[in-house]
């Protein structure tokens, strides 16, 4: 969540548990931050010597990736995943070092604060007025086998700070006036909780889609929309079905790469987004040349069980030459119900 909540401590605890269970554990890199409790917990764990590099008059210590790989433990503990390595190191970032260690077949437990997550960079800057320079890509979180949130209430974190458990006493006041303000810590905590909740949800979806457990745990409806008036009805029909099924509703618009919307389409798209909010639906916008492939990818990502599509605007000739969209969806989405929402204007008895 933030500095001082006890990430390093928690990492070491995990390492000690693994060691107690008979696993071969080493510390690849530890940032004890002069915290006695942390240093005490590290006692008894083997430490791979760091690599000392000279940078001008400064001597900088970095993780010795090759030494960790040569040592070949079962598990390496590597602190501060978002750290930027000293100039001249093989990798610019520590997460790249970790990638190498993982590739060598060594499991890694690492630590990171939520503000370093790349996709949250703008949100963090807005919340804290601090632009975080050391970021790491979201894929690292997605690829992790497990993400553990080390949570602490903002008040408790401030207490730890005041007690000198996070920074030396002389830095405490400045920290409390800046990054460690209560409202900022609350916002960071909320972000961290949300991020982990989303991660849990994504993992659940992956489990649902595991070939061995194809049975979805719940219905989920996807409405395919385009920025045109008839999509309003498609979304509304999909919502009614979703309500009956007690299902979540997603609306998907697949945008052609580089496509520019005219004014009317922009208005239509904005209206669809507003309707999605009113209906409690999630509006998803994806870019893709291949409509069916993009839909398939979203369907499997989100665990969709029903797809609503409008009557395709296909001429008979195009359908014969290129195949029908509905047929392609049926073929490419086995096990997913496809429902075509008719265009009322096409009903012969309705036009007088």
């Amino acid at each position: 969540m933030a500095a001082g909540v006890g990430k390093t401590y928690r990492m070491l605890q995990e390492g000690r548990h693994a060691q107690a269970d008979g696993h071969d554990v080493v510390i690849g890199y530890l940032e004890p931050h002069d915290r006695p409790e942390t240093s005490a917990l590290a006692d008894g764990l083997e430490v791979v010597p760091r690599l000392r590099t000279a940078h001008g008059s400064l001597a900088l210590d970095e993780m010795d990736v090759d030494a960790v790989i040569r040592r070949a433990p079962e598990l390496a503990l590597v602190d501060e995943l978002a750290h930027t390595n000293a100039p001249g190191m093989r990798n610019e970032k520590r997460y790249q070092d970790i990638d190498e260690i993982l590739d060598a077949g060594v499991d890694v437990i690492s630590t990171v604060n939520v503000q370093h997550l790349e996709s949250l960079n703008d949100a963090i800057a807005e919340l804290t007025d601090v632009r975080v320079r050391e970021t790491f890509p979201d894929r690292i979180l997605e690829e992790a086998d497990e993400v553990v949130l080390v949570d602490l209430t903002p008040e408790a974190l401030q207490e730890r700070l005041r007690a000198g458990k996070v920074y030396p006493q002389e830095r405490v006041d400045v920290a409390l006036q800046n990054f460690f303000k209560l409202e900022r810590l609350s916002a960071l905590r909320e972000l961290a909780l949300r991020e982990v909740a989303e991660d849990v949800e994504a993992r659940r979806q992956t489990l649902v889609l595991d070939p061995l457990s194809k049975q979805a745990v719940a219905e989920r409806v996807l409405a395919l929309v385009t920025p045109e008036p008839r999509s309003q009805r498609i979304l509304r029909r999909a919502w009614r079905s979703a309500e009956r099924l007690g299902a979540q509703l997603d609306a998907l618009w697949v945008r052609k790469p580089g496509a520019q919307l005219d004014e009317e389409e922009q208005v239509g798209l904005a209206a669809l987004r507003r309707l999605a909010i009113i209906l409690g639906a999630h509006f998803v916008e994806e870019e893709g040349d291949d409509l069916v492939a993009t839909v398939r990818s979203v369907v499997y990502e989100r665990g969709t069980t029903y797809v609503f599509v409008g009557t395709p605007d296909e001429s008979r000739k195009r359908e014969i030459l290129h195949g029908s969209l509905v047929s392609a969806l049926v073929r490419e989405l086995p096990g997913v119900d496809i429902r075509v929402v008719a265009n009322r204007a096409d009903r012969p008895e309705e036009v007088r």
Binding site: R236, W239, V267, G268, R274, I278, G280, E350
Partner: protein, 179 residues
């Protein structure tokens, strides 16, 4: 060409004509053309829409070759955030909007329906105007104490509407069940 050949040819032509007729009959009626810059007639309402008002709006849209935009306005209760989903309210709005849409399409008028929300009906209307343009507004006045905008709302509407506005009040006797 023998008589038999001529007969077969004739039968084939008849069959072809019959197929064309069948195919033509099966083809849905031509959609009403909507040009890129079609005029838009907004019909805002909430709860119910008097059929007299709807029919008048349909006639106007038809005469102008315009798209009818029936907009169901929802009020977001103060206990909810402005962007909260409104499931219960939408459940009431949905069938009414479908019925309105159905009636307009039966009359051959293209429809682009909306559901808009706000803290009040006028707030919802203002939100809609802020993001979309309309060429005419047809606003229902209340009839028999129900449906339509009230006096205060109508006064606001006439003062703030960004375009030509028509307030329609059906005769109380003609007031029927809403669309």
């Amino acid at each position: 060409m023998t008589k038999l050949d001529a007969g077969l040819l004739g039968a084939a032509i008849v069959l072809a004509v019959a197929l064309v007729v069948v195919l033509a009959r099966r083809r849905p009626p031509k959609r009403l053309p909507v040009s890129g810059a079609a005029r838009r007639v907004l019909v805002p309402f909430s709860g119910a829409l008097d059929p007299t008002v709807l029919d008048a709006a349909i006639r106007i849209a038809r005469a102008e070759g315009a798209v009818l935009v029936p907009a169901y306005l929802l009020i977001v209760p103060l206990r909810y955030g402005e962007d909260a989903p409104l499931r219960d309210e939408v459940k009431l709005a949905m069938p009414v909007l479908e019925a309105v849409e159905h009636r307009a399409l039966r009359a051959g008028v293209p429809v682009d329906a909306r559901i808009e929300k706000g803290r009040t009906l006028t707030h919802a209307l203002r939100r809609l105007w802020e993001v979309e343009q309309f060429d005419r507004i047809v606003a229902p006045a209340p009839v028999n104490g129900g449906g339509g905008f009230n006096e205060k709302e109508l006064a606001w509407l006439l003062a703030h509407a960004p375009t030509e506005t028509l307030v329609l009040k059906p005769t109380p006797a003609a007031a029927r069940t809403a669309a």
